[in-house]
Assembly symmetry: D3
């Protein structure tokens, strides 16, 4: 009977990849907790890059800054 | 002072239907719990069909499979 | 197939009132959108008073301030 | 960089089972989408039985009714 | 390690304003609770006006009604 | 009219700190977007340590592992 919400940045995940997430997380709940898949709901949210922040920055800026760091 | 989030699949709900959901759930909170409608917030999310999973499948596949089941 | 999340402050809602919220919001989705109740999930969160803010204040302070306002 | 929220009813899931959910869903996001586990956040909510509704009923009543159904 | 979700109505917030929200709320968590910004995730949702309800009405109707009130 | 949800691990945040989060995030929305504080709702969730995962591990294990890393 679980409900799972997966939020990812919108970067071209395919329908197949989304179906794999739905199947994978449902299987996980069946395997680990014996949940009933028939009432397991999964909702995926694709979030625009400029709506996702990490380290105090929109994620694209964050990645640029991380990539620019000297090793 | 409640906050309600309603997630439905995106399948053509009209503005009138959405307004009816907002009114209905606000009235419910007033009637059952005596909440103040002025600070009752309702947010509706319409979720793409391929982002909604049930029974380990994206909802469209799930419905096809359910419809194909012998009686 | 909808998912509804209702957040209310923890102030003594009874089991009967919670059951009435679950029934009421499920009926609403059936009536307005023809949704299937068998896969309609409702999750209620009771939120501690000090965890709920409105008007920039925890809700108890907010109410005290509102009650103290001259008419 | 994903965020996953897993809501289950509070029915005695162990710390080991919760850790298995966290590991499983993080691995899934790495395997399917190549996400970075270091910034993958998983939050589990255990929801009281009387706060979870399905079929218009609190989940315990729903199960009793389902169990009582003639085959 | 916090996760923050900010929901606002879609009314033309700019990329700069969204970046300011991400920075501001991350700084707040660092200042108030000493949280690590590197694992602080912020997700902004812009919600269509007709999907946001307050006072039992979609927000645009609510504002019209509020504006029409005699002083 | 915004809604903000802040999720933090349960590690002894005080009522004063929570009030500072509520005030800070409400002020931020007023300053950056000109939102009305009277209808700005903030909900804080304190999440048990074993319910929070990062890097595929419950957060306490993750911190131990991070602390044990050679410089």
């Amino acid at each position: 009977m679980p409900y799972v919400n997966i939020k990812i940045t919108r970067e071209g995940a395919t329908s197949e990849q989304k179906a794999a997430l739905i199947k994978g997380v449902t299987d996980l709940l069946v395997d680990v907790l014996g949940k009933n898949p028939a009432t397991t709901v999964v909702v995926i949210d694709e979030v625009e890059m400029e709506h996702w922040g990490i380290g105090g920055l929109p994620v694209e800026e964050y990645r640029k800054k991380a990539a620019a760091k000297p090793a």
